[in-house]
């Protein structure tokens, strides 16, 4: 590729182009950048991006070097579509708070009550998987429930104004809905399911992975350090995020109180196995268009 | 009692007063010709009578059913000639009436032509046909024969005269042709300084081009319009 120029500066310094989302603790705190600078790596921030898919595209088309640590599902599909990307890091989180929620006066108290109702989910994302898994677990036929595909920004008003009966959603909007609309959790991922389906992930171009293994290791280590800091200082981390999200204090308190721990690691055997299990579930449920072998698309560094 | 009564009509454009306390009456069935210099306000008066422009002062009484032949033909370019003539007529008889009106102006062959394909004089005749096919109580004609050759013009004169004797509308004809005014009108007016400057009843003897009264009236009118012409050959 022609990314030599982008990857290395004069004087042996490297440059990495990192994508970021609207909320980015590493970018905001500045520690991350300094750490890398000290190791001879300059950081160029590209973004912000609303979700994982466009960052994958930015990486695939060599306008950035790292995707932004987002959901593994679009990554799997992008790989199936022939993009030359590889997994270099993955994360798991505990507790898994993603939930299906309903309004208190909706008469829905459990998954079984969803039959005949409209549920908002994000298409082919965490929300949809959770709903599918929940229905399976409680033996509710899938076609008795109307899957209403809505991205979180559109789902919230629809849910709040009663245009949909329930909402399958992750942390953040979840707590906000609880505070604003008084929503109740009727199915919580970590409590009810034994497996994680969707993981956090970093991907790079495969040629980049071959040539810049060292840089990648340093970048991922820096990311991991940031995450460890956030795990240890949930209140401060939330504060950084909230400068952008501007959630009411009650929501922030709730988020801090949940104390979600996210663990990043470079791709390892466990990562491959977990990602594979998640991908298999997705393929079995026709979310992914085909079977995928994660090991072929992962680089252990 | 007159069909058209305009009294002390005033019309200003900015500083300029184009109609300045003008008085005019036209009886039912009367044919009045209006002469005047270019820009003296003939069209302005006609438009006021047609109810197209407001006036700045004075009163106007005109019948409901008026028709105007404008100085330009004003045919709808997107309608064929016959539909332009038939515009606003009841559907059932529209085509037939339009066709016969077109025949009268010598354009029956052009009934299905687009207006853009007409020559200047043809378009003017279509506009005339459009006005004549209705039966107005007041017919306002703004130089309807200007673009016509001598022969066609004579035929159109005959046509208008026929119609007016049949339906007896009040007619106001603006023209620049003094002969035409004398030959067609019962009364010839000249306009100046925003008013009717002079009025001449046309005696029936004066309708003969070769006659002395014709020559005299012609001379008088040309004089009022500022043209001095030798009278000797009359």
């Amino acid at each position: 590729g022609d990314n030599e120029a982008a990857a290395s500066d004069s004087g042996g310094r490297k440059k990495v182009r990192l994508t970021y989302g609207a909320i980015s603790v590493p970018k905001t705190r500045g520690v991350f950048e300094k750490t890398l600078n000290d190791q001879g790596i300059d950081v160029e921030w590209v973004g912000p991006f609303p979700n994982h898919a466009p960052t994958l595209q930015a990486v695939a088309t060599n306008t950035a070097d790292f995707s932004f640590g987002g959901s593994s599902t679009p990554a799997d599909q992008a790989l199936l579509s022939g993009n030359k990307l590889v997994y270099v890091a993955w994360s798991k989180s505990t507790p898994r708070t993603s939930s299906i929620i309903a309004l208190p006066n909706s008469g829905i108290t459990g998954v079984k009550d969803l039959a005949g109702k409209k549920v908002a989910v994000n298409k082919a994302g965490l929300g949809e998987f959770l709903l599918v898994a929940a229905l399976e677990k409680y033996n509710v036929p899938r076609d008795s429930v109307t899957f209403t595909y809505l991205n979180p920004p559109d789902a919230a008003p629809a849910f709040g104004s009663g245009k949909v009966d329930a909402w399958s959603i992750w942390s953040g909007p979840l707590e906000l809905a609880e505070v604003q609309y008084g929503a109740k959790r009727i199915f919580v991922d970590g409590d009810e399911l034994d497996k994680q389906i969707d993981f956090g992930s970093y991907l790079v171009r495969d040629d980049y992975a071959k040539k810049e293994a060292d840089t990648i290791r340093k970048v991922i280590a820096a990311y991991k350090a940031e995450q460890d800091w956030a795990n240890a200082n949930p209140a401060e981390a939330q504060k950084i995020g909230n400068a952008v999200s501007k959630y009411p204090q009650a929501v922030v308190d709730k988020l801090v109180g949940e104390n979600v721990q996210v663990t990043w690691s470079l791709i390892n055997d466990e990562g491959i196995a977990q990602l594979q299990a998640g991908a298999d579930w997705l393929s079995d449920h026709k979310v992914l268009s085909d079977k995928i072998n994660i090991a072929d698309h992962a680089v252990k560094l | 009692m007159s069909t058209v009564v305009a009294s002390r009509v005033t019309r200003r454009y900015g500083e300029r007063t184009v109609l300045d306390g003008l008085d005019l009456e036209i009886e039912r069935g009367e044919f009045v010709a209006l002469l005047g210099k270019s820009g003296c306000g003939k069209t302005t008066l006609l438009r006021a009578l047609a109810g197209l422009d407001p006036v700045d002062g004075g009163t106007l009484e005109v019948p409901e059913r008026r028709t105007v032949v404008f100085q330009e033909h004003r045919l709808l370019p997107w309608w064929k000639v016959w539909r332009n003539v038939a515009i606003g007529l009841p559907r059932a008889t529209a085509r037939a009436r339009a066709q016969s009106a077109l025949e009268e102006v010598g354009l029956d062959k052009h009934a299905d032509a687009w207006p853009v394909t007409l020559s200047g004089g043809e378009a003017q005749r279509v506009a005339l046909a459009r006005a004549l096919v209705r039966e107005p109580e007041l017919l306002l004609l703004d130089e309807p024969f200007a673009a016509l050759d001598a022969l066609t013009r004579l035929r159109m004169h005959g046509l208008v005269r026929d119609l007016t004797t049949r339906h007896r509308p009040a007619v106001l004809l603006v023209t620049h042709d003094v002969d035409e005014a004398i030959l067609l009108a019962d009364r010839v007016l000249t306009m100046r300084d925003g008013r009717i400057a002079a009025a001449h009843e046309v005696a029936s003897e004066a309708r003969d081009r070769g006659s002395a009264p014709f020559a005299a009236l012609r001379h008088a009118l040309l004089g009022e319009l500022g043209v001095v012409e030798p009278l000797e050959h009359a």
């Binding site: 898919a53 993009n83 908002a120 082919a124 595909y149 991205n151 559109d154 629809a158 | 209705r134």
Partner: protein, 278 residues
Amino acid sequence: MSTTAIAGPARTAEAGATPPKKRAVPYRTISWTVPVLLLLAWELASRSGLIAANVLPAPSSVGTTAWHLTETGELPHHLWESVKRAAVGLAIGATVGLVLGVLTGFSKLAEAIIDRNIQIIRAIPFLAILPLVMVWFGVGESGRYFLVALGTMFPIYLNTVLGIRQVDPKLLEMGRVVGLNRLELIRAAILPGALPSILLGLRLALTNAWLALVIAETVGAPAGIGFMATNAREFLQTDVIVLVIVLYALIGLTTDLIARALERRFLAWHPNYHGGKK
């Protein structure tokens, strides 16, 4: 000073069998040549590897994808859903736009009441009101019809007003003096005069309809080519992304052909559209 220069356009050397009036440019040939050439160039560039497949797949491979999706019935299904939505929304939007446009163009009072509000509202991008649409209409079809109607109404409104403004006031006067009532006047003078402009409004509206659908179909729609596009974007399925773009291009082409046919039909009288001399 030359006395007998031969004027360019008037020179006609003994014109024989073929009169020189015939149009010099074979319009059709040229106008189809360019798109076809572009297509060929694209295919060649792809095959030769000048363009990487994951950046822009070759037309032939897009064709294959299209064929696959047609066989499974997926593509026709999506297309049909979108066409249905576009048609319904457009019908609503065009009607509202036309009626409001005629009112505004016709009456100062109506203009005073309507126009500024429309100018304000039309500045708001659909995307920005998506959450509100959700609240007002829920997630059914009606919200999508609303968005399409909203997107199509404005160009039609604006172009109708423009068209009416440009109708020769002399013709309107003529209409009045031959005793037409308002409705007849609209039918005889205003709509035909405004038609070129209204047809353009329709063309612009159609584009907006598809754009509105791309946005509307990200919300709660289980089908449609906007939905297909969003999905493909989400999953980086470059061939489907490009297929969708090609679909839109084809839709544009068809629209253009239809619009041209309408123009030929309704503007036969117009010297600048087809024929006519003066």
